[in-house]
Assembly symmetry: C2
Homo-oligomer: 142 residues x 2
């Protein structure tokens, strides 16, 4: 999660993500909605697309995704389609909505309605992740 | 919707999408998950990304999106983030799940939980759109 927080800071946004296998970071990404002028360029989507391109396959089972903020329904659906095994997040959607408007569907609600499943671990370094929204108040874009 | 169905057939998938302004098609796309090896390459996401690139802006309000199948929560979230004004779909998620596993969150449920809103018009050429799942049974990828 420290690497995901570092990604967020590098991008000047509250949203950073890394995907890990066997305790090694495989890809890193931050939110680039504002710079790419693309609403789909959330940190998690950017990271998944990088990993798809690197591995040249759709199935990303066996990977663990760390993200500074709970995945929104767009990102959580993509994570489930890709077969990511475990999702670890910092700040929750419910906390983030104090700073940025959110679609209020929790990641576990998306998983509950999905034929694909992932283990979700909330609140890792939560206060530090939430503080990113105060560090980067204008560039959240999520 | 006829143009969206044609897009789906061109791509050999049940999923086609066009985005329209003043009754003119501005961009067209189909699902390319299998060819791009990218779970995010649904028809609607591909169409939104094309329009972002063409218009060089995040805000896509004023556009109408036609899609052969009700947008999944990934696509519906992206549509709402982009500010698309109206969504018209053919087959519903509930119908499509007979053919392809679906995350069972309806587009109106995503909209209901969102600070961004869109008008959703269901069932346009529904039977013809649903029939695409029988025409292209192996390449659905959604």
């Amino acid at each position: 999660m420290r690497a995901a927080i570092e990604q967020a800071r590098q991008g000047g946004t509250p949203f950073g993500c890394v995907i890990v296998k066997k305790d090694a970071v495989v890809v890193s990404a931050h939110n680039t909605v504002a710079q790419d002028l693309d609403v789909t360029a959330h940190a998690e989507i950017n990271a998944l697309r990088k990993l798809h391109a690197q591995k040249k396959r759709v199935d990303l089972s066996g990977y663990v995704l760390y993200t500074t903020c709970e995945p929104c329904p767009m990102c959580m659906s993509a994570i489930l389609y890709a077969g990511i095994t475990t999702v670890v997040y910092g700040a929750s959607i419910n906390q983030a909505r104090q700073y940025v408007p959110q679609i209020e569907i929790a990641s576990h609600d998306v998983t509950a309605k999905s034929p694909h499943k992932a283990l979700i671990i909330p609140g890792m370094l939560g206060p530090e992740c939430l503080h990113l929204f105060e560090e980067f108040p204008q560039k959240s874009g999520k």
